[in-house]
């Protein structure tokens, strides 16, 4: 891997906190993403519960006006950008390189940079709570409300998301190159596990969707900080531009979130039915098609904007088309289970719970695609119900399932299955109790983002049930935390292949060693490990002799670069030019250093690898 004639440097290995701050190991970065994403998930969840506390009864006076708007804005922004995205990146980091038989990702340094940018962006955004108030213009931040009619909080939204977004974008490029260039011998595209396929399509969508939000945030930032007039109609501006740019990003973002979860569901369903995926090529095709169509339908979020019947009809019908590949996926999962030996582990419960829930979300999705009918649904609780069925019922179920599935591979410990089932049932029942009534609330005339409602409009029962459900989901989350804590106290003794897995990640020890594969495996079929198992073997055939393994050096620079942008962000917000210069300076100097001093990495020698192997077997 390394160029000719280079001397291998002595191993640079840090321990303790420094190890985590400097790591470029995709598995550790995955864990960092999980911790950070989990932390923001708890914040976003708390905000959700506060929202439901306020709406439990009519005319409540706990969180009113701007405070309530801060809660909804931060709940949405946090959950999408700071909880869902990083947990997806956590699993992608932890699993994708293992599934393709790679020792590393293509750009370990950039991978770390991506994480730290996301994290500092998230911290910047959430620091608004302590610095004069959180953003309150909705997670969609439509101007002119967000540009000229909102307080300082929106600046945190703009700069925090900008920094976090760049991090995510870098992560997307990293995974694309990793999957294209770093597959093990024999791992053709049509042998990629479905999770890797969905990670691939999602990364491509990240690549092409995130620049649109970058630009929208730049325009909003210029309007707010430099008195530009993009969204000021009095000076020739047009606020609808924001809506287009935001949704050109925002709609693909929905598929960015859901596709990897489709992948996770595919993995879980195959393993716990003990069957290969039914219609693998159709699944791949459907994934790519959904990714493609995801870019063609953004304006279905804008049927009420006044685009005219032609645009509305085209975008409506185009949106309906997405139901077709999605339907293909649902039926393929059902027929994967058909004839199998289904084991109801917690992971499988989440996958099984996912199917009807996601189908309901898909149903309301098709209903929403009808422009004339959408004029009734738009911006009501019907929409809230729909996208929570898709994002929580679809994505969160998938992610929780994925965590139960891959926890042993990430941490070397098995999550407790009994607690897991309690976690699932509370979450499942709480979820439906929260969001099912909201369909009716919307149709009965309750707009979204309202901090209260008058009695006597028929909203009382639905809101009350919805709040109870939210509390149940809170209980489920507490159970999950207890499960994690309990598990963490137990010895690290998870077997390499606890579920009778089918793909490459189950061919190596749990947790995966630093170099993933002692010898790069030779892939001889779809479901690489299963192929070997069926051929009567216990492990993969190596594609290379045992040799010294080249590793990238750990580096503190990704963290420092992210801190630089974090500082610059504050400089922009408070118009402090020296702070801007200082922050950007730190980042740029790091880039210079990175360019000037080549990282030759270090090597893990065969005897160390042998020792590890023996340790596992003993």
């Amino acid at each position: 891997m390394v160029g000719h004639g280079h001397v291998s440097h002595s191993p640079k290995r840090y321990t303790g906190l420094m190890d985590w701050l400097t790591t470029v190991d995709h598995k550790k970065i995955g864990i960092l993403y999980l911790i950070a994403g989990g932390f923001f998930f708890l914040i976003g969840g708390l905000e959700a519960i506060l929202i439901r506390v306020q709406l439990m009864y009519p005319e409540n006076h706990i969180f009113v006006g701007a405070t309530f708007n801060e809660l909804t804005t931060m709940h949405g922004t946090t959950m999408i950008f700071l909880a869902a995205m990083p947990v997806i990146f956590a699993l992608m980091n932890a699993i994708v390189p293992l599934q393709i038989g790679a020792r590393d990702v293509a750009f370990p340094f950039l991978n770390a940079l991506g994480f730290w940018l996301f994290f500092m962006g998230g911290v910047l955004l959430n620091s608004s709570w302590f610095l004069g108030g959180a953003p309150d213009a909705g997670w969609t931040a439509y101007p002119p409300l967000s540009s000229s009619f909102s307080g300082h909080g929106v600046d945190f939204y703009v700069l925090g998301l900008q920094i976090a977004g760049v991090g995510t974008w870098i992560g997307g490029i990293n995974f694309l190159v990793t999957i294209i260039n770093m597959r093990a011998p024999g791992m053709t595209f049509m042998r990629l596990p479905l999770f890797t396929w969905t990670a691939f399509v999602t990364s491509a969508m990240v690549l092409f969707a995130f620049p649109a939000i970058t630009v929208s945030l730049v325009l909003l930032m210029f309007d707010r900080l430099f008195h530009a007039n993009f969204f000021n109609p009095a000076s020739g501006g047009n606020e609808v531009i924001w809506e287009h740019l935001f949704w050109i990003f925002g709609h693909p973002e929905v598929y960015i979130l859901i596709l990897p979860c489709f992948g996770i569901i595919s993995e879980i369903v195959t393993i716990f039915s003990k069957k290969r995926l039914f219609g693998y090529s159709a699944m791949v095709f459907a994934t790519v098609l959904i990714g493609f169509l995801g870019f063609m339908v953004w304006a279905h979020h804008m049927f009420t904007v006044g685009m005219g019947p032609v645009a509305n009809a085209i975008f409506g019908v185009a949106t309906m088309l997405i139901a077709i590949p999605t339907g293909i996926k649902i039926f393929n999962w059902l027929f994967t289970m058909w004839g199998g030996h289904i084991r109801f582990t917690t992971a499988m419960l989440y996958a099984v719970g996912f199917i009807p829930t996601f189908v309901i979300g898909g149903m309301t999705g098709v209903m929403l695609a009808v422009p004339a009918a959408d004029l009734q649904y738009h911006d009501t609780y019907f929409v809230i119900a729909h996208f929570h069925y898709v994002i929580v019922g679809g994505m969160a179920f998938g992610l929780f399932g994925g965590l139960y599935l891959w926890w042993p591979k990430m941490f070397g410990r098995m999550l407790n299955e009994s607690l897991g089932k309690w976690n699932f049932w509370f979450f499942f029942i709480g979820f439906h109790l929260t969001f099912f009534p909201q369909h009716f609330l919307g149709l009965m005339g309750m707009p979204r983002r309202v901090f209260t409602y008058l009695p006597g409009q028929g909203f009382e029962l639905g809101n009350f049930l919805s709040s109870i459900g939210a509390f149940l989901m809170g209980v489920a989350t507490v159970i999950l935390i207890i499960n994690i804590v309990v598990t963490n106290a137990l010895p690290k003794n998870a077997p390499a292949d606890p579920w009778d897995g089918r793909t490459l990640e189950w061919a190596i020890p749990s947790p995966a060693p630093e170099y993933n594969f002692a010898q790069t495996p030779l892939v001889r079929g779809l479901d690489a490990l299963w192929t070997e198992k069926m051929a009567g073997k216990k492990e993969m055939t190596p594609a290379e002799p045992l040799g010294s393994i080249h590793m990238p050096s750990a580096s503190i620079m990704p963290l420092i670069m992210a801190i630089g942008l974090f500082i610059a962000g504050f400089g922009f917000m408070y118009h402090l030019i020296p702070v801007i210069v200082l922050g950007l300076g730190i980042t740029v100097v790091c880039m210079f250093i990175r360019s000037l001093y080549d990282d030759h990495g270090w090597h893990i020698e065969p005897d160390e690898i042998e020792n590890n192997r023996k340790g596992v077997k003993a």
Binding site: P144, N238, R276, H341, V370, L375, I429, M444, P447
Partner: protein, 339 residues
Amino acid sequence: MSGWKKASRLLPLFGAVILALTGCGDPYLSALDPKGPVAEAQLSLVMLSFYIMVGVFVVVMVIFTYVLIKFRKRPGQNGVPKQVEGNHKLEIIWTVIPILLLLILAVPTVITTFHLSEKKTGDDVLKVKVTAHQFWWEFEYPDLGLATGQDLYIPTGKRIEFELTSADVIHSFWVPALAGKTDTNPGQTNHMWMQADQPGVYKGKCAELCGPSHALMDFKVVAVTPFDFKSWADKMKAAVNRQPTTATAQQGAQVFQQNCIGCHAIAGKGGKLGPNLTAFGDRDKVAGILEFKKENIQRWIKSPQEVKPGNKMPSFGGKLSDQDISNLADYLQTLKVIK
């Protein structure tokens, strides 16, 4: 699986909840209870798409339930189930049938979308210009030379053609029982129409986040017979000649002239920064949300920020004496054209 038993025990409860949820709903608010052709057309699309989707859901659930029960791993069941690569016939079926279903849905969708966005002019329509403000609604009748705030009067059986815009941020104009919503974009004009078939007071809401008091930006559409509408319009025009009769109301009128007229118009005189108050006494809500009574009018004038945070009206609590505010409230209550 004890879980399944638990879930099945919950089913009847779930059914009861659904019934309760669908049964309720304010008849003058709910989109499920349309009172005009636009909302009816929209509800019929809602129901068409709903029935198609329920069909799909039932098919999925039947297969799903069968699979989960039939193919559970039984104790002692070992070995490897048959590894099936796929089935072209099945895959074609579940690709083609959804396409057909979507075609069935797409045709009425496109027709209704175009139908609902047709513009009409002429004598058989009434034109209304809607301007949304943080956090109230301004309605102007350009052909009648009239304006109201918060309460929109319309004749039944007549097509109302709206031109919608906003004075500040994006709002969305929504009267669920009569028609779906249309955004009001500052600097742009949107179009929609609606028609009420029966007299009634229909509730309207702002449906786009517009600031701290977005939740409180309610309004009313008062549909009256064409005869009553004509008489209402005549009385609105005649309101110029209206005089307060009681002493307190007369004093209140003076307070109004000195403090309020810069923003609020009555009978064509006054500013447009706040709602037109010509027919204020006919309203059944103060500021769209409080019960219509004198104390609430006084409360609103004294400290509007407490009622609707973030609105533009200054607080008169420290500026006017309690007596002045009381007189002003008396005067405002006399501003009736119907009741």
